[in-house]
Symmetry: C2
Subunit: 284 residues, 2 copies
């Protein structure tokens, strides 16, 4: 089996909805094509920024099919497949078999679960689907269930071919460094914010998978290639506007303005669109 | 539309799995029948104790069908239908249309969401299914997304026919009392632990929906009818053994012993079965 060899800047693609709150496959395809043209190395569809957990399994499957049926190369897709239910996680991971890999949340309903329980969750999926290429997804501030370094080490040791890397969205770069130190070179470490992009690359990391790539991909891709403090400062400046706002409706507001399609503002509950006051904080 | 008129003691029914981690419909039916014979007024299938969020939507549908096809009266079922995804919640709530009602978690992936966002989540389901009879499910220590009193008041005011009550599993009886004070008499308040059963009944509440009803239903039902401090003490004594342990595997351990079927010990990851040491703490 070849190396997944993912690196660079990936977008966790926002999901467009219509006025009946249904996913809009055509607009999704259009946005995915644009992000690849802007230099994203791959598309992390169905992440947190994608409102993926607000979608049913079937809705994710139909959106993935629409991309593949319309020429998005599977090797440039990294769908999120980690659900509360193992049966859903296995089904979605199987569906994504042709993709570059999958980004897998731990099961996140029960809290305070044991490391053994989390190990068994991932092990079960990989035992059912030994060819799966898994990027672990650590986002404890949202999932409230994190992936400690000791679990990463144990999983990589048990399933070296399947466990390919991590997206560390915890926002604590000390944790990212601890992962980089603990893991072999073929384990790809992505940070979940471009704020840590240059630092991560200097420490041996693979890149970033960041929400703001939905609106600022070219500059983030340039910073990936430059690895300079100056390029980093430029992308930090753009990010700073979005972190003052609820991120997902903020990104969608920008897409609505750029495309002239007001439906981009639509989010599924429990999220809500920006207030007028918040909208004024979005960069022109 | 008639009053749901639910009261008494309900069991959030544990879900049996086989050695391949698949739900076992026959054993589920058997356990449901036993709980009704022991005096449970209804069965809150697919709750937290049921590992419901570890099941796919299809798995829940098949289990519900198996109960209905085998004579469990729909008016004695209160399935849990609240998922992260509105589309799943709507699908499951529609599937449960013949049941006494549904117990509905708020969408629980995103944290720190607004009251407006939670209102829209429930409103969306009820607008699609105006005949739904909804018990709100407040369990903030697990879901990490609670249902504040102000939201309950707003929902009941907007949808008086559909919003029928609440299961308050927060473990803070002051909150339960605040709900009872704020809401009209036709709003059924269940506590999520029999620890508060007598207190809740004395304050005008409807009963309890409690995990330990899976193993101690007769005594809890008796305490419901007696409303005495003595009966309350007896059920507290049984509960005290289980709260020292991970509750779900603890209940399953007891069912394994009572039925002689070791498969009752099986839980889906991320849960794990009891250790030998923990098993020794289970009452004989």
């Amino acid at each position: 089996m070849p190396r997944m060899a993912l690196s660079g800047v990936m977008a966790p693609v926002v999901t467009p909805f219509d006025r009946d709150l249904q996913p809009d496959p055509a607009r999704f395809l259009q946005h995915c094509r644009a992000l690849l043209e802007e230099g994203c190395s791959a598309l992390a569809i169905f992440g947190t920024t994608s409102e993926a957990n607000s979608l049913s399994v079937e809705e994710r499957e139909r959106l993935l099919d629409h991309l593949l049926d319309n020429g998005i190369p599977p090797e440039r897709l990294l769908p999120g497949t980690g659900c509360c239910s193992l049966s859903d996680t296995i089904r979605l991971t199987k569906k994504a078999a042709r993709c570059a890999g999958v980004l897998m949340l731990p099961p996140f309903y029960y809290k305070g679960v044991s490391e053994e329980g989390l190990f068994r969750s991932y092990a079960r999926v990989i035992e059912k689907l030994p060819d799966a290429r898994v990027l672990l997804y650590h986002i404890p501030q949202v999932a409230q269930v994190g992936i400690p370094v000791s679990l990463i080490v144990r999983l990589k040791s048990a399933f070296p071919r399947s466990i390919r890397g991590i997206k560390d969205s915890g926002g604590d770069f000390e944790n990212t460094k601890a992962v980089l130190r603990a893991m072999p070179k073929d384990f790809d470490v992505f940070v979940g914010s471009e704020k840590f992009l240059t630092a991560n690359l200097r420490e041996g990391g693979a890149g970033c998978i960041t929400a703001t790539a939905n609106v600022n991909a070219r500059a983030i891709v340039q910073a990936f290639h430059e690895r300079s403090d100056e390029a980093q400062k430029r992308i930090d400046a753009v990010r700073s506007a979005y972190v003052k706002l609820p991120m997902i409706p903020g990104l969608k507001e920008t897409l609505a303005r750029r495309t002239g399609n007001a439906d981009w503002r639509i989010v599924r509950p429990p999220l809500v669109e920006l207030t007028d006051e918040q909208r004024r904080l979005i960069p022109a």
